[in-house]
Structure formats: structure tokens, C-alpha cells
């Protein structure tokens, strides 16, 4: 996209906002979001990210988007991973290594089951809503 006018910016925002609200409402494409700040990466988030992508391929799942984000602040529980899947509550997992990443795909994504002992809480309510 080239240089935008005010109207174009507003139109883009409206359409992107809609995508985001669909995501939060648990509609649309399933997303796995990996915390990839320096803290997350130092704790092994890159390995986690690759393990999740690899496991999705192995299980032949194609309708899941794996994305990165910044630090959520749960430093003692890094790497952290948030899973947003239609019809399920949004879940934040902490201390997700290669094995737990794969388990999230096998249980949460494939069977709608939460992976116990690795669930953490979002740190605060979202002021942007």
C-alpha cells in the first residue's frame, strides 16, 4: 500500500478492527500467539515456535495461524503462548517448551482439551476495549 489519505487510514482501521474483534469473540481462524520479546526468546520461544509449526504440519492442520507478539510480562513463566480458538475461551500458557508446544497442538487444537499445569492468567484487563 502506498501513502494513505485520512479516509484510507480510517477504512483500513475499521476493517482490521473487525478482524480483531472476531478473533476476540472466538470466531474465525484459530491463532497461536507466541511471546517473542528478548525474555521469551532467551527462555526458548524460538524453539517453541518451531515445535508448534512442526507439530501442526505433522498433524496436517492448516487452518491455524501461528504468530509472534511482544512480552506479556509473565517473565517467570516464559516462554508464553496464547491460544485463541473458536468456541473456546482464550488461554494463556506459560513455560511452554518444545514438548508442551506439541502437546498444545495435540490436545488444545485437535481435541479442545486444555493442557493442565501450564495455564496462566492474563496480567490485566485490556484498556483498549
Amino acid at each position: 500500500m502506498g501513502a494513505m489519505t485520512l479516509e484510507e487510514l480510517r477504512a483500513l482501521r475499521a476493517s482490521k478492527r473487525k478482524e480483531l474483534s472476531q478473533r476476540d469473540a472466538g470466531e474465525g481462524v484459530t491463532q497461536i500467539i507466541v511471546g517473542m520479546g528478548t525474555c521469551g526468546i532467551a527462555a526458548g520461544a524460538k524453539e517453541t515456535f518451531h515445535a508448534i509449526v512442526d507439530e501442526l504440519a505433522k498433524q496436517e492442520i492448516s487452518n491455524v495461524v501461528v504468530k509472534q507478539t511482544g512480552c506479556m510480562g509473565l517473565c517467570s513463566s516464559e516462554p508464553s503462548v496464547e491460544v485463541l480458538k473458536a468456541g473456546m475461551p482464550g488461554i494463556v500458557y506459560g513455560k511452554v517448551d518444545d514438548a508442551i508446544g506439541r502437546k498444545i497442538v495435540q490436545k488444545h487444537i485437535l481435541k479442545d482439551q486444555l493442557v493442565g499445569e501450564y495455564i496462566f492468567d492474563k496480567p490485566a484487563a485490556d484498556i483498549m476495549k
Partner: protein, 595 residues
């Protein structure tokens, strides 16, 4: 199989101790008895950071939050809530006994964190300008360019009460106003991202998680102060933040949100990145300017302030990363909205990097006025391994140690100043009974002495002398006269040093003289380190009676200074011992004695 509900049971260490295992068993049993096994999944979770109210049970998707749940309560939760859909009111969290909170967002505890600066961190993909835009990104810029005058922006910032988050707490609107008022054909907007306090990483995480918020705020500063050039001075040690900033800048340019004729207006703005050369003093604004110009990073006396004569002698507004990240929200929601958060003199929120001997270390953002106790024992979950709290260090090498009796102090610029510490950039290091205040202070002092640029004598010579005196104390050779000298030196440094670095270097020393007199005296009068950290005052010996000659300690000793035949008592060579304590940890027969 698809579950209808999920019952999450917190099983962090604190909750484990309050019988969360029995609770999980009871819930399983009740769910099976009610024939709900196929509809409900019971899950153990990590720590929710709400340990004093544990065990905690959360039911999803409705997000009902139960506290202090006992195994006996399982039947009621299952029968009432899961079967009949009626939450068990008596188990809901209710601090004032006034109204029952059913949902997580309503709980005061969770509102102890309010994320303004970190609003997008951990939410959006920092490499996607679209996601930033979707979450009201560039709305503030839009509003400023099309609806507000520069005076209007400054007025909104004045109403918000925002003060500089780099440490000194100077009102942001004044800085902007001063820069705006100076007539000049060229002005600069700078972002100070030279975060260097040990244990502080708020700015790094903000830049890595939400780079566009900084760019947007700098452009707003440009419009307000009459500048079309921004420079971000960032530590070279932050490669990921630099990478993401560079990507964000090129995305903004591609969208026409940066560069010439932004959004079709006459406003132009460009941002470039300068990498720091690794000196702590470059976080001081005049040193930062010198370093940006290619000179040696050394401070110069103020006035003139950068607002009048800054980069290349032109008027320059310099703000810290966290200050900038707050600004788009303030302009979107209004200064009055922001001013409702915080205390009388310190408005808004502050990000802290909570580290040290704390259970849930992490990056937190709380309203100003939150107490240290709420942060450490509420959000942080208390001290690790059941140890006793000793002190919390705020403000890094420029701050001080705060002891237990002041834990209920609401944090703001003035209150922490009164306690001999500072808010600073936001490092918060928690110490337990095993930490020695003299040892910790020596670490900070050593850091400041290392980082002194050497330009002015009070900092260069004063810091070094102070360290020598403190070192004597830690070795058990200090005297009362040394304490008096330290006080005198500290006052001189505070008064006569050229910049903030030298002026605040004595703060950690003064804070232990003030708050930890007993521990300091133990080092001087009894030649004893109560925490056993000052190695010169510690001695490890092996009890001949208790030692069975298993050789474990000798094998663990890193300097091989423990001698003895198998099945014969061992001996530590005191001359060579480095007092690491490995033998004490290794011995299973309590034969190693620390004195």
C-alpha cells in the same frame, strides 16, 4: 470430544500447600458423580499470582473466580454452578464485603495492574503495523493533525499530569512547552532509549512489543514543538528492539504515516536511529546529545537546557520510552481520564521490572500510589522459597533500599524520595534474609564508579573513596569514623556533582546508613555479616565429630582446598578457601559449619 466448561484449579506452590491437590480430587469425584465427565474438563494451572487467597478456582468460559476454596466446597461448586448454572456467591472474591465479584476483570486485585504503556505488549504482532492500527494506532496522530492545535496538545498533557518516566519526573508538558516557545528554523525530538539500570528492562520490552506507539508519540511531539526530525538513541545491546523499530519506521513510511506530507497535511516528520556506545552516563540528556553528535558521552552543566540549546545547539525535546508510550492514549482518552489514575502529585501508571527473590518475577504496570506490599506480595506472589522479606531496591544504582516497615507506602515520586530512594526508571529488586545490604550496596556503588565518566571530581574521586570505605566495612575493618566520612562524602557528591549520575551515586549508601544501622553496625562492631554474604567475614569449618569422610565436599570444592582420607575427618585449608559455600550445600551430615 468437546467440553462445555473448564474448571481451572490453581496449583502454584502456595496453593499446593493449601490443599489444592485434595480439592482437585474432590472436584473430579463430584463431576463424575454428577455424570458431567464428558462436558467438563478439570485442569491444574500455574500460579495465578493471587497466592494469599488460594486455592483459586476459575470456571471458563464464564470466568467465574472463586477464592480460598476448600475440598469440602467441591460438591457445592459442581451441584450449584456446573449443574444448575448458579455461581456460588459465598466463594467469590469480595474485598469490601460490599458486592460480589463474579468476573475476573471486576476483581480489585486484577485492577492493581492497569496497562497503558504496555497496552499492546503481548497482544499485537510488533512487526505488523496493521495490528497496531486495528487497536487504535495512529488515532492520536490523526486527532492531533486534524483537530488539535499545538497549544491544545500541551494543554491536554498538562491536564494529564504526566511526568517524565526516565527517573527525574519532570512534567512532560513543560518540556514540550519550553521547546515549542523557542523560535528556531530547526528543532529535534529525541527518544531516550538508553536503558541501563541493572535489572531494568521496561523500555526494551515496550520497544520490542509496541514500536509504533513510540513513533506515533514522537511525531505528535514534532507537530507540537515544531520539529520535523526525530532521533531514537537506543542501546546497541538491544538488537531485537532495534530491528523491530527499523521495521516499524519503514512500514510507517510506506503507509505515508511518516515522511513528507503526512496524511495529506503539510506536516513532515522523519525518524532515525542512533546506537548508543554502551556507557551508562549517556542516559543523562546532555551526555546523550553529545554522544549523538559523535562526541564523547559526557554531560555538560545545565542551563541552557536542551529545550533551548540541545542537539546541534538547536531546541530539542527529549523524553523517555515509557513517557512517549503513554502519550497516544492520553490524547485519545483525554488528559482528565489519565489524571484520574494515580496520586495527587504523580498521575498515571508506572511500569516496573519486578525481579530478585520474588515468586512471580515479571514486567508489571500499576497505577501510581499502589503500595510496595501490593506489588511484592500481591502481584509478585511474595518471596521465593518461604524466606523472609528484607528490603526492596528501587531506582537502580541511583535509588536506595526500602525496608519492611515502609511496605505500605503508596509509590509515587515524592514518597519514594522521602524514603531516600527514587522511582527511577522502574527497576525493582526484591531481597530476602539471605541478602546482605552492605554486599548489595557495594555492587551498586561499584557499578556507578565504573560508569562515572570522570569529568567532575566529586563523582570521580568521591565515588571511588566511598567504595573504598564501604569495602572496609564489608571486610570487617570499618570504623564508626568511616560511617561519618561516608555521610560527609555523600552530601558533597550530591551537592557538587555535575550530573544526575554523580548526584545519585551515594543514594544506596545513604539508604543503608539510614535504614539498616543494625546490620551495618554488626559488620563494624562485631565483625559479623548477619546474612553470611560478605566473604571476608565468613568462615567454613568441618566438625571432626560429625564428618564421616564421605569425600563429597572435597569433590565439590572448586579450588580443591579440602583435604582428608576416605572415612577420615576432612579439613578446609582456610588460606585457600574462597568461601563459596559449596561444601556446606554438599554435606549431608551437617558436618560443615558456617561461622
Amino acid at each position: 470430544m468437546k467440553y462445555k466448561q473448564y474448571v481451572l484449579v490453581c496449583s502454584g506452590t502456595a496453593c499446593e500447600s493449601s490443599k489444592s491437590k485434595d480439592l482437585i480430587d474432590a472436584l473430579y469425584h463430584e463431576v463424575l458423580a454428577a455424570d458431567l465427565g464428558a462436558d467438563i474438563q478439570i485442569v491444574k494451572t500455574g500460579c495465578f499470582g493471587f497466592c494469599e487467597k488460594g486455592p483459586i478456582v476459575k470456571v471458563l468460559p464464564e470466568e467465574t473466580f472463586y477464592v480460598q476454596v476448600k475440598p469440602d466446597d467441591a460438591a457445592e461448586i459442581v451441584q450449584e454452578h456446573l449443574v444448575k448454572g448458579r455461581p456460588v456467591t459465598r466463594l467469590l472474591y469480595d474485598p469490601q464485603q460490599s458486592k460480589a465479584h463474579a468476573k475476573l476483570e471486576d476483581i480489585d486485585f486484577y485492577q492493581k495492574q492497569v496497562r497503558i504503556v504496555l497496552r499492546n505488549c503481548g497482544v499485537i504482532d510488533p512487526d505488523s503495523i496493521d495490528e497496531y492500527i486495528a487497536r487504535d494506532g495512529y488515532v492520536a496522530l490523526e486527532k492531533v493533525l486534524f483537530e488539535m492545535t499545538p497549544e491544545g496538545v500541551i494543554d491536554e498533557l498538562r491536564k494529564s499530569g504526566l511526568r517524565g518516566r526516565g527517573g527525574a519526573g519532570f512534567p512532560t508538558w513543560r518540556k514540550w512547552e519550553f521547546t515549542r516557545q523557542v523560535a528556531s528554523d530547526e528543532k529535534y525530538v529525541m527518544c531516550n532509549a538508553d536503558e541501563g539500570d541493572p535489572g531494568a528492562y521496561m523500555d526494551r520490552s515496550t520497544l520490542e512489543g509496541d514500536p509504533h506507539s513510540i513513533l506515533e508519540a514522537m511525531m505528535i511531539a514534532g507537530y507540537t514543538c515544531g520539529s520535523c526530525k526525530g532521533i531514537i538513541y537506543i542501546r546497541a545491546e538491544y538488537p531485537l528492539a532495534i530491528e523491530r523499530l527499523n521495521r516499524a519506521i519503514s512500514q510507517a513510511k510506506e503507509y505515508g504515516l511518516m515522511g513528507e506530507k503526512i496524511l495529506g497535511t503539510d506536516f513532515c516528520f522523519d525518524i532515525e536511529i542512533r546506537l548508543g556506545a554502551g556507557a551508562f552516563v549517556c542516559g543523562e540528556e546532555t551526555a546523550l546529545i553529545a554522544s549523538t553528535e559523535g562526541g564523547r558521552g559526557m554531560p555538560i552543566p545545565r542551563p541552557p537546557f536542551p529545550a533551548v540549546k540541545g542537539l546541534w545547539d538547536k531546541p530539542t525535546v527529549i523524553n523517555n520510552v515509557e513517557t512517549y508510550a503513554s502519550i497516544p492514549v492520553i490524547l485519545m482518552k483525554g488528559g482528565d481520564w489519565y489524571a484520574k489514575i494515580g496520586t495527587e502529585t504523580s498521575k498515571g501508571t508506572k511500569v516496573f521490572a519486578l525481579t530478585g527473590k520474588i515468586k512471580n518475577s515479571g514486567l508489571i504496570e500499576v497505577p501510581m500510589g499502589t503500595t510496595l506490599r501490593d506489588i511484592i506480595f500481591g502481584i509478585g506472589g511474595g518471596i521465593k522459597d518461604g524466606k523472609k522479606f528484607k528490603a526492596v531496591q528501587t531506582g537502580g544504582p541511583s535509588g536506595g533500599l526500602i525496608p519492611e516497615q515502609y511496605l505500605d507506602t503508596p509509590i509515587d515520586y515524592e514518597n519514594l524520595g522521602k524514603l531516600g530512594s527514587i522511582v527511577g526508571s522502574g527497576g525493582m529488586i526484591v531481597m530476602d534474609e539471605d541478602d546482605c545490604v552492605v554486599d548489595v550496596t557495594k555492587f551498586y556503588l561499584d557499578f556507578s564508579v565504573d560508569e562515572s565518566c570522570g569529568k567532575c571530581a566529586p563523582c570521580r574521586i568521591g565515588g571511588k573513596t566511598l567504595l573504598t570505605l564501604l569495602d572496609r566495612v564489608s571486610k570487617g575493618t570499618g570504623t564508626d569514623a568511616d560511617i561519618a566520612s561516608m555521610k560527609q562524602l555523600s552530601t558533597a557528591m550530591q551537592r557538587a556533582s555535575l550530573c544526575g549520575l554523580g548526584q545519585t551515586t551515594p543514594n544506596p549508601v545513604l539508604s543503608i546508613i539510614r535504614h539498616f544501622e543494625d546490620e551495618l553496625n554488626a559488620h563494624i562492631k562485631d565483625r559479623h555479616c548477619p546474612a553470611g554474604k560478605c566473604s571476608a567475614l565468613v568462615r567454613y569449618e568441618i566438625d571432626e565429630e560429625a564428618c564421616i569422610g564421605c569425600t563429597v565436599c572435597a569433590r565439590k570444592c572448586p579450588v580443591n582446598c579440602i583435604a582428608g582420607e576416605r572415612k577420615q575427618p576432612h579439613v578446609i585449608d582456610q588460606e585457600r578457601c574462597v568461601k563459596c559455600g559449596a561444601c556446606l550445600e554438599a554435606c549431608k551430615f551437617n558436618a560443615v559449619i558456617k561461622s
